[in-house]
């Protein structure tokens, strides 16, 4: 196990390496940072000096090397928008994003698992059609559209929830629903098909042949088996969570990483973009690793060696 974790951790290195490379190549082409940094009045000479000072005239490889050296010390450069180090700006936003994504995820899980199981068991009935249809609908609705609609209906017309911002628990409700819907929609479908798969397995028949009541068959025999593929795919759905967050945070002015990123992109604040991409990538990798480890708890067949 320990060995497995170490192996996985070591595998992260080349992955990160590739990410830095991709990011660097993009930034390398992302226009002239000097243009953004110097005032319009600056002369050509000033620009040249600045370029030289920043090492922008070095060959690609040298620049990439310097870039690697910098980021290995956590130095992603200065935000041109905020004039401060980019990394702390990004890290500062994590709690807000975690809060939103976490709650949305939790709500999505709490909703989608029972729904998925239910609809799988009621396969080809009206209930199933309803749930499946609902989850497809949830997937088919663009995130921002849902968010704006929720604001219009639940915050402006019926003033139950605040329109935007972060603060109390009620502030969390609408953004969490918005983000949670897309996740839940996807997960319901997943749980359903995974459940159907499980229900067709021989050991379910065995359980029934023992006289186990159907409900118990589902809960104690099928459920855990259903979870395994669901977890695999859910971690791959992480990108849904991240992209969902970007949109949702923008709609609700949720001061998280997504919002920062959108604004950084708009302002061409490349240092922040870089840092954010990097942190998100690391988070994704870590979450993947953690879920892999969770497997071990759920599935005794998996032995990492």
């Amino acid at each position: 196990m320990k060995k497995y974790i170490t192996k996985r951790l070591l595998e992260i290195i080349p992955v990160l390496f590739i990410i830095t490379f991709v990011v660097f190549v993009l930034m390398y082409h992302a226009g002239d940072p000097v243009a953004m940094m110097l005032p319009d009045e600056a002369s050509q000479e000033d620009r040249e000096n600045m370029r030289e000072a920043l090492g922008l005239n070095d060959p690609f490889i040298v620049q990439y090397g310097n870039f690697l050296k910098d980021i290995s010390t956590g130095n992603f450069g200065e935000s041109i928008r905020y004039n401060t180090q980019a990394l702390p700006l990004v890290i500062e936003r994590l709690p807000a994003s975690f809060e939103l994504a976490g709650v949305a995820m939790l709500v999505a899980i709490l909703i989608s698992i029972p729904l998925g199981i239910w609809s799988a068991n009621k396969r080809n009935t009206v209930t199933d059609l309803f749930i499946t249809g609902g989850s497809v609908l949830g997937k088919a609705m663009p995130n921002f559209w849902l968010g704006i609609m929720l604001i219009l209906i639940l915050a402006v017309n019926v003033q139950i929830f605040p329109v935007s911002g972060r603060g109390t628990l009620v502030h969390l409700v609408l953004p969490a629903i918005t983000l949670g819907t897309s996740i839940a929609a996807e997960m319901t479908r997943l749980v359903r098909s995974s459940m159907l798969d499980t229900l067709g397995q021989d050991y379910i028949r065995t359980a029934s042949s023992k006289g186990v009541p159907y409900f118990k068959v589902v809960v104690s025999h099928a459920f855990r088996n259903t979870l395994i593929p669901v977890i695999t795919i859910t971690t791959l759905q992480l990108s849904i969570v991240v992209s969902g967050s970007i949109i949702t945070e923008s709609v609700f002015q949720w001061p998280g990483l997504g919002l920062l990123l959108v604004q950084a992109v708009n302002a061409r604040d490349m240092a922040v973009v870089q840092a954010a991409v990097f942190i998100i990538a690391i988070l994704v990798i870590v979450v993947n690793l953690i879920t892999d480890l969770i497997y071990v708890l759920i599935d005794p067949r998996i032995k990492y060696s």
Partner: protein
């Protein structure tokens, strides 16, 4: 009988058997109500996209300044001239919706083609050759997987400004990993299958094995993912529009329309609601069709 004639005959035989396959297909399709619905929706959308010029009552970019924000025909203040009303520049919403179908479908389909081609290549090669090839390729996939595609697209589009083709390529370049991962998994199990081993014992070259044994057998999975990806891409384009990075005018996409209309949702609902419905219905149709394909193309067939 000459060789050509023999070939011809052989081809005929083949096509007759594939026709019988097709008829099974159609039979199964008729049985699945949602699959039918999906197909019908998609056919309509495709039809509309192809014949947009003939179907649209107006030039979609032509403003009718005296008809700005006219509500749909059935609503008070609406006129039968503009059945679904006009937008804030007095452009006919229906015509825009019709032309939007074209761009949305093109973006959806073509970026899936790009992604699919890369992903298929990557997945098959990495799964089949294994060892270090697989190691290297999978690390690249991991790297791409750990940067959510929308993020990637945002970053790329800050470097290259979004045009229709740029968007297609960029979406393709960032979403191929899903294909690669799933197809690799499929290939890993396929290459252990005995028919692949059989080809190997015959001395068939790797490339022919890939071409004749692996690719045809991952096709059904491939088609299913592709179908579903078209749906995701249409939504992705809408989300990018929301961030100002989607299809740019004068090109019309549903996402762009929805985004234009989002500020009018409370006051002039028709601007944003119709493209919203178009997206939802089309995506719904594609998902239904994809789900049906998944059931039908199951290799256990």
């Amino acid at each position: 009988m000459s060789e050509a004639a023999a070939n011809l005959e052989q081809k005929e035989k083949k096509s007759s058997s594939s026709i019988s396959n097709l008829s099974i297909f159609v039979k199964l399709l008729l049985k699945s109500k949602t699959g039918m619905l999906g197909l019908i929706i998609l056919l309509i959308a495709t039809f509309v996209a192809i014949f947009a010029d003939l179907l649209a009552p107006y030039d979609p970019v032509e403003p009718h300044l005296s008809y700005i924000l006219t509500p749909p025909a059935w609503q008070e203040g609406g006129t039968s001239q503009f059945i679904l009303g006009t937008d804030n520049l007095g452009r006919d919403v229906l015509s825009r919706l019709i032309f939007g179908t074209r761009v949305s479908l093109i973006v959806g389909v073509l970026s899936v083609v790009v992604a699919g081609a890369i992903g298929l290549f990557f997945g098959v090669i990495s799964g089949y050759f294994g060892r270090w090839v697989d190691q290297v390729m999978m690390r690249i996939v991991d790297a791409f997987l750990s940067i959510p595609s929308i993020l990637f697209i945002m970053v790329i589009l800050t470097v290259f400004s979004p045009s229709l083709w740029m968007l297609i390529i960029v979406i393709g370049l960032t979403t191929w990993v899903n294909y690669a991962r799933i197809i690799r998994g499929e290939v890993l199990s396929l290459k252990e299958r005995e028919f692949v081993k059989a080809s190997q014992t015959i001395g068939t070259s790797h490339w022919i094995i890939i071409w004749r044994n692996l690719i045809p057998n991952v096709m059904s999975t491939f088609i299913v993912i592709s179908t579903l990806s078209v749906a995701t891409t249409i939504i992705l384009e809408a989300s990018l529009s929301f961030l100002g990075l989607g299809i740019q005018p004068p090109d019309i996409s549903w996402g762009g329309m929805l985004n234009d209309g989002r500020d009018y949702l409370a006051t002039h609902w028709w601007m944003g609601t119709f493209p919203g419905i178009a997206i939802t219905v089309t995506v719904l149709g594609i998902i239904f069709l994809g789900d049906w394909l998944r059931d039908v193309l199951d290799p256990r067939l």
